[in-house]
């Protein structure tokens, strides 16, 4: 199994979710995140005092998938997330040793 992690622009979340569903992915986890890469933050002004806010809001999407699907799903996510502008985010995979469905105790790919 592999864990696909995507840190992307928040407004692309729905597109990505739909694309993954269309592919047959049954579950995913989303968390609100903040960070920066090449896209830097913005400036805010309060009574003339300027603050540079470095961290940009993002969402982090995590999906557990079978090894065979991983590469293709990465492409699905990337395609759905892309706007072509700076700050679109990153997608990566890491190997996962085991996964258990809590309710039934199923292990491995059966738990997905």
């Amino acid at each position: 199994m592999k864990l696909i992690t995507a840190v992307v622009k928040p407004h692309r979340l729905d597109e990505i979710k739909e694309a993954l569903q269309a592919f047959g992915v049954h579950g995913l986890t989303v968390t609100e995140a903040s960070g920066y890469g090449r896209q830097r933050g913005h400036t805010e002004v309060y009574r003339g005092a300027e603050y540079t806010v470095d961290l940009v809001p993002k969402v982090r999407i995590e999906v557990l998938v079978e090894d065979d699907d991983a590469e293709q799903l990465v492409d699905v996510v990337v395609k759905a997330a892309r706007t072509g502008k700076i700050g679109d985010g990153k997608v990566w995979t890491i190997p996962v040793e085991t996964a258990v469905r809590v309710r039934t105790g199923e292990r491995g790919p059966d738990a997905l």
Partner: protein, 446 residues
Amino acid sequence: MAQAITLAADAPTLSAANTGFMLICSALVMLMTPGLAFFYGGMVRVKSTLNMLMMSFISLGIVTILWVLYGFSVAFGDDKGSLVGWNSDWVGLSNIGLTELWDGTTIPLFVFASFQLMFAILTPALISGALADRVKFSAWALFIALWVTVVYFPVAHWVWGSGGWAFDLGVIDFAGGTAVHINAGAAALGVILVIGKRIGFKKDPMRPHSLPLVMLGAGLLWFGWFGFNAGSWLGNDDGVGALMFVNTQVATGAAVVGWLAYEKIRHGAFTTLGAASGAVSGLVAITPAGGAVSPLGAIAIGIIAGVLCAMAVGLKYKLGYDDSLDVVGVHLVGGIIGSLLIGFFATGKGQSDVAGLFYGGGLDQFWKQCAGVFGVLAYSLIASAVLALLIHKTLGMRVSEDEEVAGIDQAEHAETAYDFSGAGGGAARTAASSPVAPAESKKVDA
């Protein structure tokens, strides 16, 4: 306090209309203190929200008691040497007849005492904005008690009490440009020079945690200010209160526009905080002047106050004093602007026949205004610094560094302003703090 001139030659009688109006105005001015609490409370970081609210709220308690005990007597009693007043019948407000009228007006003494009490509550609360995040609550409570006793009550006498030096000199202060705003602004400067900066001033980001709260507070202040200003004529027999009402709205609207225009040009955005601050700067500036100027004069005063205060709030970074929420930049500067501009914009057709420079009156009134402004400024600055120093050297004015960094709300009030655990995400916290019987102490993951 400017007093309504009774037109009839015979002794004035109680007016139910004026009495009702003034009771409502008193309640409006009372609302300004919680309004101010929100205005300031939204501007601090999350961790000191409650402390900021409480610094204003405690004034409603302490000053009320002192006012009844001796404050009213010191501020408005018979003059002693042009500096303080005293009337032993008013100690404890105990020997006052229900229908006894305040001198030269048609309202009961009790109504006047209530109205003025709300001013005495608001003024020390204004100071608190400069002291955000770092002052021990007990020290602040003591400071308020000492400050109103040594500074506010006497200064109110100077400006509004018959026989007070500024009053006798002919300084115009309709509703508190000197006695309230310059007084509070100068006091704020005096105290912060003693207690020093917040940890991280100019280094850490100190963004307002809730601008909607700031806007709410500014709205409440604006609303209450109609009572503060229009009510200060103590009646409506000659229309001066109504002129003040109009000018309050006009100058405030103009100051919002002035502040925003300056900000857009200088910093590139129309900020919410700028709009709220602009409103307060306009309200401050028109406070001394609104009974003496025309609505067009009020527009000029509002715009000038909005722009100059917007410039003044940047000074603290250059000069290095931590006037946290700009009490100096808005109240001291705005109060000075409004008080001095009377010398130029007074029409001679409002509260008195004294005209300013632009209406053929020369600079006479301007010099009188200068005397009032700098007399109050200097006394308040020095006396407040001395009081703060006394407390600082004995009890200590500041919380410990740890407490300040962790947040004064937890250290001084044992509460947090907001529960961020949220729906769903709060499971762990809810379990840990489940309300089991009235336990001695409970553990909460804050």
